[in-house]
Each structure stands twice: as C-alpha cells, then as structure tokens.
C-alpha cells in the first residue's frame, strides 16, 4: 500500500492498546487491511514497533504490568481475528509456525518449590510484545513437567525462574533431564530470577542468564538468530 501514514497508524494503535480499546484496535487493523495493506506489512510496520514501544515504556516504568498484559491480549485478538485469517487466506497451505507473528516459541516456568510469579510474568509480557509465542507454566513446576511440556509445545527456548537459592537444584534437574532423554540440543535454556547468577548458569550448563525482563528479550533474539533448525 502506498502513501501509508505508518506513524499515524502506530499512534492510533498505541492509543488503543494503552487505553484497553479492543474494538478500536480491531477496527483500525481491519480498515487498514481493507485499503490494501498486506497483513504481514501491517504486522511488521505497525504492530511490531508499537509493541516494542510498549515494552520500552514498561522498562522506563511509564506503564506497568497490567497495561502490558492488556496490550498483549488485545494484540493476540488482533492477530487471531484479523491478521492471521488474512495471512491464511492469502497464503493457503502455510503452516502457523511459519507465521511472521512469531519470532520463536518460549516456555516459561517458576521451578519447583518456588511460588514467585510476577517477575516471570514480566518476562512473559516483554517477550510477547516483542514477537514471541510464550507458554507460561506458572509456579512450583516440577522439572519433569517442564521437559514434557517443552516437547509437547515444540518450543525453541525454555526459560526458568527462581527467587530462592533452595530451588536452584531444580533448575539443574531440568537440564539433567534434557540430557537424560537426549533432548538437550533441541532447546536453548535461559535462567533468571533473584537467586540466579551468571556463575550458576554456567555451572549448570544453561545457555543464557538474564537479570531483567528486557534482557530476556535480547537473549531470546540472540538465541533465535544463531539457532540452527532441528532436522
């Protein structure tokens, strides 16, 4: 589509997302596509930069977790109700995993014994607004369940969180289990949370350590850039 005022569209979408205006976001998207804009182009030039801006505003604490949650949910609806159907009808036979909506698939869990959730939720949101498909297993998750879910969801990255030093052994258990079932190379493992240090990450053979939600995005981008497809 020529002469698209992307800046105005971004402003409009940003406003809708920050104000929780689901219908506004859906209408703007439908209208833009109806004027001839390709869905992938809209996602790349409008949705993606707007989500990055939302992530940046959270990083600066100009908005908070609930606003990010709502924005991410609205974008998920826009993708599900407008973008993906438009892509599917334009590109018949293309599998969902090849959708430009997803940079990669991440599985997050707070490990066994730990009930802390909010930091991990922040990571989940930052990853979502930066283009990742995120499955969040919640808190107090057994290592065996994490490994099983990673396989079922066919994820690229497993993210483990813990606030408590006494739960760190369970992070190592995840990696040991992946080794044990011969799946270690299939997944990249990143670890974080107040109890985790770069040294610990190295000791247990994790692929990356992140100390903030923003850093998790950088790490995942780096991992996905270098990740070889599993044949």
């Amino acid at each position: 589509m020529q002469n698209t005022d992307w800046e105005a569209l971004q402003e409009g979408l940003l406003s809708s997302l920050l104000n929780g205006e689901t219908e506004g976001a859906l209408s703007l998207t439908r209208e833009t596509l109806s004027l001839g804009t390709e869905p992938v182009e809209f996602f790349t030039l409008c949705i993606t930069p707007v989500l990055e801006e939302i992530g940046n505003r959270f990083q600066r604490l100009e908005i908070y977790l609930p606003e990010m949650v709502e924005a991410a949910e609205i974008v998920e609806m826009v993708n599900a109700q407008v973008i993906q159907p438009a892509i599917d009808s334009a590109q018949e036979g293309k599998s969902p995993s090849q959708s430009p909506s997803t940079k990669g698939k991440v599985l997050l869990a707070t490990v066994q014994g730990d009930l802390h959730d909010i930091g991990k939720s922040m990571v989940a949101l930052m990853l979502k607004v930066n283009g990742y498909h995120v499955s969040d297993m919640g808190i107090d998750v057994a290592p065996s369940d994490i490994v099983a879910q990673a396989k079922e969801n066919d994820v690229d990255i497993i993210g483990l969180s813990s606030l408590l030093t006494t739960c760190l052994p369970y992070m190592k258990d995840v990696i040991d289990l992946l080794d044990g079932v011969g799946s270690r190379e299939r997944y990249s493992v990143m670890v974080g949370g107040a109890a985790v240090t770069p040294e610990f990450a190295r000791q247990i053979g994790a692929d990356a350590y992140g100390s903030t939600a923003a850093e998790a995005v950088v790490i995942c981008d780096r991992i996905m850039k270098h990740r070889m497809p599993i044949s």
């Binding site: 959270f58 009930l115 802390h116 909010i118 030093t165 006494t166 739960c167 052994p169 923003a214």
Partner: protein, 466 residues
Amino acid sequence: MEEHRNGECQCLLSVLDKAERGPVIDQRTFDRILINRKINELVEKHDIQWDQEVMVPHDENLADRLFEAGMALALDAGVYCIDTKRRMIWNAEELEQALRTAPPEEVLGTGKDSVTLYPRRPGDDIRVAVAGGPFGIPVPEDLFVPMMMSYAQEPLIDIIDNASLITTHGRPIRAASPWEAVACWQEKSLIFEVLERAGRPGMPIGCAENAPSAIGELASTTYGGFRPTDWHHNSFVSELKTTYAELTRAVHYSHTGCHSHGFYNPIYGGYVGGPRGVAVASVAGLILMRACYGVTTMNAGPSHPHLSCDTHPDLLPAQALAFQALARNTRLLIANFERPVAGPCTRDILYEVAALTIASVSSGVSLVECVQSARGVEVAHATGLEARFAAQVTHASEGIHPGDADMVVRSLVAKYADGQKELRKGKPFDEAYDLDSLQPTAEWERLYEQVIGEMRSEYGLKVLPG
C-alpha cells in the same frame, strides 16, 4: 491464660476456615480486578499523591487518607489462598479487632540479650530496635560463622537475622525436601555457636532462613532448636497471597508460643502499579498479615522491578508514607526492610541505607531491618559494618520529624540515585573483612568513617559511636 489461648485458637481456626470457605476466584482475576483495578480506584478516591521531589512526605491528612485506602483494600481484596484458590475475606470488625489486639509492646530474646519493641508515631524519640543480618543472602558454609559473628559482635544490633547456606554438609539444599530440614538444623547449630562466642546467648534470632517451605521451620523450631523467643517468619506472596505452607507456619507459631514477624514485598510496576499503589498495598498488606497470621511485627519491603531494591527514589516516599499511615492509626510494631542496590565496600550502600533509615525512623517504624546488601542476590556480599552504620543512623534519627527528614533524604538520594543502575555490588565478606580478626578491612573502615563524618558534619545527625 487458658481463655486467652482458647481465644487465639478460635481466631486461628476462623482464619483457616476462610481459606476453605471463601469465594473461589481465578488468581488472574484476583490480581487484575481486586488488586490492580481496586488500587487504581482507591488512589483516586482517596487522593493519594505527593510531589515527586519529596522523599519523605509530611502531610498528616495524606497519611490518614492512605490508611483509609489501605484499610479499604484490605476489606475489598482480602487474601488469596493459592492452594485453595479462594479469597479469604475479613469484615471491618475483624480487621479492627486484629489491630486492637496487637500487643502494646513486644519482648524478643531472653535475659540481658532481650529487646523490647514499642509502637511509635512519626517524629517520636522512642528507641527503635535494630535487626541486623544478611537476611537470607546466600553464603558458603565455611563463611557462615565469621559473617554472622560480624553482626553478633555489634552492640547496637538487637536482633540477628541469618544468612542462607548455599549447601548443607556439602550437599545442595532443595526446597520442600529433607535437605531443607537438614539445612535449618545446621543453621541453628551454627548461629547458636555464634551467639555463644559473642557472649549473647539470649539474642533473638531471625529464623529459619533456610526454610522456603514450612518444612524447615517446623523441623527446626522445636526442642533443642530455634526458640519461641526467636524472631520467626511468615510472609505473603506478592500480591496479598498466602499458601497452606505459610498458614501452617502460623499454626505452629501459635501453638509453640513463637514470636512471628510478617513480611510482604509489593512489586513496583506489577499489579499494584506505581509508587502510590505500592503505598496502598503496603498498608493493606501489613493490616492483613496481622489479621491472617497474627504476627506481632511486620514489614513491607517493596521491590523495584528492574533493580530489585527498595531504596530507589520512587519507593522511598511510598514507604515513608505507608509507615506514617500505620504509625498514626494503629499501634502495630512496623518495620522497614533495607535492600540497597550497592554492596559492602562502596560509599553508595551507606548513602542508600542512610536515606531509607532516616525516612523510616522519622515516619514511625519500631524496628529497622538492616541490611540485605547488594539486593540480596550476590553470594556473601554482606557485612556487619553496614548494619552497624544503619543502627547508628537509626538512633541518630530518633526524634526527627518527617518534614525535617525530607531535606536530608533528598540530599542523600542525590548522591546515589544515578549510580543505582550500575549495580555496584562491592565486595564479598571475605574481601571486606579480615577473617582472622573479624574486623573490617582498612578500605571498608575508611569509607565508613568518611560517611559517618558526613552524617555528622553535613546533616547534623548526632551519630554516636557504634
């Protein structure tokens, strides 16, 4: 006594009933509607706001409105029980009774090593108690005793709070496993050794730090273990959530006559929102911990989402105001919790500690908890010297009004705020202290003396020798 015990038992049973019979609710709904949306409404309704330049708000009307907002949140939200997925609800009479029956004073420890805590109001010159220790900072087994000695030997520290062991007898410690029990018994043995060597056998111990679940606490708070006169812990999971494990601790403390301390960490930028929401949640959290667990001392230690500290300039006024709200309207024995970004052997840690201490003491806390250095995440990055410093500043701040504290705290914040993002973790214990003499290194001592000098000359604080 029997009637009192029966009354306490009935109260405890009614709390547990709430966990079993309260309305079922999805946790996400609790967080988004009953926490976030409700806090946003209350902040507007009660006009909770302050000038961003102010570090220690000193508006009594605002503090009282904050108390009303916190009470309203406590009534409307209640506590979410993660295990039963039910909301525990208290009515106004129940909450008021919980506040009314809070002890007028509390004695921790025994004999010459005991300490009495008193309720305070903003600006009071009543003596503030000091709990000093690493507060769960992870430490190798061979450093536990020397590190804890560095706190136990400080005469201004009234209560000692333990480090966490990284391993127990060389083995990894796993939460909610027998290893947790082993670690807690080792923690008990080691700290009792420390107190004997320091000549303070009756000193109250903050415990058990190696007990992320109830297992460690139940295993080690018994015959030959940690004592009823020690300072035991209960907590909420953020935001305003409890678990069967925490309720089990409360039952155990009630039946063993243990003193219990509640802590709750609202997360800035999370479901409580910004600083104003942190203030409301802090007030509600402390009221609800009193009602839910029957704790007799309590603290809210909010956490910055990116820095994991509570000394960020955005959080200081929220905490100060919350302390004022509770101190003016209840006789709860409230505490602060000092979690600076910087670590030992840095000037920044002393500035951060001084700022939060002065803000807290002037705002009416009964207890200063110091210091979970370097955000509590760096192995062995904690020493008794920063706790000594905090204790000295604590006593120098008694009698200071919040309005007078504000300019001092603003000046201190200006010295460290820009550097917080650099995460200056400083040095671990074995580089900050001489392991033979158990005294600070010359470098650390020099920094400490310089900043003590600033407290006296620049801020006029009557800092007495430690």
